[in-house]
């Protein structure tokens, strides 16, 4: 029994290792395949005025004169040793950059996910209570609209209306971390979290609705009602709890998506998060920044998946 459990953990860890190794190779190759390098990314068309000697000097400086295999091993061994490299354009280490941008993205993704899950589950329950009714229609309409409205449209609309009509745009001020100015930080996170929350709420709402409708017809629910339990008790303790697995799965996926996919929202609300860090680095062909940042995301994503699996086991003891 114990042996089976140990080999299960080992297999899981092996799959995590293979996934991360695959991602590291993939991102390394993709960056080298696309045209351009750190020199053209940094100097743009002015690269054309450099002499061949200057270009060779710069290649040596950026470490892109070495064979690809050597470049890969040099980066991956440094990464594993905790040295994430540094951004050539700014001279700042990727670790320092990430230490300031990752908390922004995690905070944004957390707020977005929490608000999305609250909205999604509430509207899903609201809809599922009377399928086919007017409330179900409006619930589903919300889901459809939330899925159809692009984040950048909603963000721009919020920013424009709040700034022009109410003279309110806290993101125009310098970004404040929670420990520098908690109140300002919460104001700066409010609207981006709502935008992301709406995007998360739609799939969570649809998943909740269908999971609840499937569960509510089960025998044990009829039994619970037959035992004379209150409707609210049955809804929350039995129906919702037994519908949680698909909702948790969807929430995990959405959280992972928000970690990597909040670039547009970060741009419009001027939040210095990881999305912007990676996008800027791709444009400048800052290899170390892109590779190390993507690996951090990959590690986070894999960790979230593991945590989701653990939560499954807590929710449903039948899952081993």
């Amino acid at each position: 029994m114990r042996l089976a459990k140990t080999s299960g953990i080992a297999a899981r860890l092996l799959s995590v290792f293979i996934t991360l190794f695959g991602i590291s190779v993939f991102i390394f190759i993709v960056l080298r395949v696309i045209p351009g390098d750190t020199i053209t990314g940094s100097l743009g068309i002015e690269t054309g005025v450099l002499t061949p000697e200057q270009i060779d000097d710069l290649k040596r400086y950026y470490g892109i004169d070495k064979p690809l295999l050597l470049q890969y091993f040099s980066w991956i061994t440094s990464f594993l040793g905790g040295d994430l490299g540094f951004a050539y354009s700014t001279g700042v280490s990727v670790l320092t950059l990430t230490a300031s941008s990752l908390p922004v993205t995690i905070e944004l993704a957390l707020f977005g996910t929490i608000s999305g899950v609250i909205m999604g589950i509430a509207i899903g329950m609201f809809s599922a209570k009377k399928p086919g009714s007017a409330r179900d229609f409006f619930g589903q309409l919300f889901g459809l609209l939330a899925l159809a409205i692009p984040g950048f449209v909603l963000s721009t609309a919020i920013v424009t209306i709040m700034a022009n009509k109410f003279g309110y745009f806290p993101n125009g001020y310098e970004y404040m971390t929670p420990w520098e100015d908690l109140w300002m930080n919460l104001q700066q996170m409010l609207f981006p979290s709502i935008v992301l929350g709406i995007a998360v709420a739609a799939p969570v709402m649809r998943t909740t609705r269908s999971a609840l409708l499937e569960t509510v017809d089960k025998d044990f629910i009829r039994t619970a009602f037959g035992k004379g339990l209150k409707n609210r008790t049955v809804q929350f303790r039995h129906v919702l709890r037994n519908s949680l697995i698909p909702i948790v799965t969807m929430t995990g996926i959405q959280f992972g998506y928000l970690l990597g996919g909040a670039v547009i929202v970060e741009k419009i609300f001027a939040l210095p998060g990881m999305g912007r860090q990676i996008l800027d680095a791709i444009n400048k062909r800052e290899y170390a920044t892109v590779q190390s940042s993507v690996m951090i995301f990959a590690i986070l994503f894999v960790t979230i998946n593991l945590v989701t699996d653990i939560i499954y086991r807590r929710i449903d003891p039948r899952i081993k």
Partner: protein, 506 residues
């Protein structure tokens, strides 16, 4: 009926939202200006910077020997006067007295010499090196700097303007304290305070500035990576100055509450044709393109009317006359004649390289040109790529045609020598050179007389347009938005923020 508990919860929620809306921090003090910029700076070395944001920001910290002022006129900078010898092979500059670096050391000719030598050193990778290659020796003596040149080169004076020609402390150069994490030490109106990548760069006024301390004492360039958000921040009063490039955003600016500064840029848009490959190795095909394009229509639709028809030279003193080109107005019949002369009566098909994010209107312009060319039976397929992919392909002339947004200069020599002389380092990209062009560039470079230079650059412009080497289209505008309280600011075509040294708030 609403229960007391629900009423209380609702009340608290409303109070929180209302509190959020009203409790914004105090707006900037009257002597503090916050500038919104989409781009962040990318380095602190003025000689190697090419990024617009870096050039703008470091232009506040560093000064150059000469400056470009309003009306694109060359004026004194750290050099208070200058003269050429009769042959145009020696430039003597007298440097301003009493100028100090931010660290308190005095600026003199030895600093100027060390700065120019640093630019010329290939190890520096300086962006402006190509413009100084005619310098054979530099002599520094007290406040006098003498540049000896291998050939007559009057335009070298204009080339001494800008951040890429910044004057640095010779001590800093010797100690290797330029760029990287070293604090910039210039002679400009603002002292560098700090830079937080992707967030902001901060400056304070330099009380010892040779023109007098700037009235705006604190200056912050804040990165807001979306122009629409910059406008919103201006409307909300959280920033006081905005750098805008998108005509769509510029058109939304309400001049009731904000000031809009709009000047024609020196930069220009052109459809670069690769004359080394088919079908553009045939001059008649290039001329067919020239005659098929309705520039005013492109400006009206794709650029929202925000631009002007342009010829090759945008330098104000030597500006090309767009009406002097073959087919100054769209002429489809003529275009078909040219196609027939090329033996391509049934039309031609080619692919144009277009950047998706190089500038705001790039794709709209390309789509408009594609539709216009179709009227003459010319099919232009669009190869749309991101800017980082576009740049290496442009540098390698890996295109049949490409829609480009190229920088302009106040002197045609520094603007085009690198493209259209046979030895120019961007001639591979230009794909065209000739003995007459070389001769005319030399004539323009060698003379200090306006009439001779005008004749040379008119001839250059004519040759380029008569052969439809590229199809020059239009120039955009440079936009600056400011609060109504900003006084004394003048926008420059170069995009420089230097006029803020004479501006005040309130």
């Amino acid at each position: 009926m609403i229960s007391k508990k629900r009423f209380l919860v609702g009340g608290v929620a409303l109070a929180l939202i209302a509190g959020t809306l009203v409790s914004t921090p105090a707006k900037a003090a009257s002597s503090e200006l916050v500038i919104g910029s989409v781009l962040d700076i990318d380095k602190l070395d003025p000689h190697t910077s090419t990024n617009f944001a870096t050039v703008r920001a470091l232009g506040l910290v560093y000064s150059s020997l000469v400056e470009v002022g309003p009306g694109n006129k060359l004026k004194t900078g750290l050099a208070s006067s200058w003269s050429f010898n009769a042959a145009g092979t020696q430039l003597r500059l007298v440097l301003r007295e009493g100028v100090k670096f931010h660290d308190g050391s005095t600026f003199d000719a030895a600093d100027a010499k060390a700065s120019l030598e640093r630019i010329l050193d290939t190890k520096t990778g300086a962006a402006g090196r190509a413009n100084l290659l005619t310098i054979t020796s530099i002599v520094a003596s007290g406040r006098t700097l003498t540049l000896n040149l291998s050939v007559p080169n009057v335009p070298i004076l204009a080339a001494l303007d800008g951040v890429n020609m910044a004057m640095l402390s010779s001590d800093d150069i010797t100690a290797g304290k330029v760029g990287g994490s070293n604090k910039p030490n210039g002679t400009g109106p603002y002292k560098y305070v700090s830079w937080e990548p992707t967030q902001s760069v901060k400056f304070v006024s330099n009380p010892g500035y040779w023109m007098g301390a700037p009235k705006i004492t604190n200056l912050t360039i804040r990165v807001i990576p979306n122009e629409s958000s910059i406008l919103s921040a201006m409307n909300a009063g959280t920033i006081q100055f905005g750098i805008v490039t998108d005509p769509l955003i510029a058109k939304q600016i309400s001049t009731k509450s904000l000031k809009l500064f709009k000047v024609p840029a020196l930069a220009y848009y052109a459809l670069q044709l690769n004359t080394k490959v088919a079908p553009f190795n045939d001059k008649n095909v290039r001329l067919a393109i020239q005659c098929s394009i309705d520039r005013p229509e492109m400006i009206k639709t794709a650029m929202l009317g925000e631009g002007a028809v342009s010829g090759p030279i945008t330098s104000p003193a030597y500006k090309s006359d767009p009406n002097a080109r073959p087919c100054p107005k769209v002429d489809i019949a003529k275009a078909k004649e040219y196609l027939a002369a090329a033996g391509k009566s049934s039309g031609v098909t080619f692919k144009a390289l277009v950047t998706s994010n190089g500038w705001a209107t790039s794709v709209a312009m390309a789509q408009n040109l594609k539709a216009q060319l179709a009227r003459a039976g010319i099919t232009m397929d669009l190869d749309i790529v991101d800017q980082a992919t576009y740049v290496p392909r442009w540098l390698g002339a890996d295109f049949v045609a490409t829609l480009a947004n190229n920088g302009g200069r106040i002197d045609p020599d520094t603007m085009y020598t690198r493209y259209f002389t046979s030895t120019g380092n961007l001639n591979k990209v230009a794909t065209y050179s000739s003995a007459t062009l070389d001769a005319n560039f030399l004539k323009g470079k060698s003379s200090g007389k306006t009439a001779i230079r005008t004749a040379a650059y008119t001839a250059i412009s004519k040759e380029l347009e008569d052969n439809a080497v590229w199809v020059w289209l239009a120039t955009p505008y440079e936009y600056r938005v400011a609060t109504k309280e900003l006084k004394g600011f003048v926008a420059l075509a170069t995009g420089s923020l230097l006029p803020l040294r004479s501006a005040s708030l309130g």
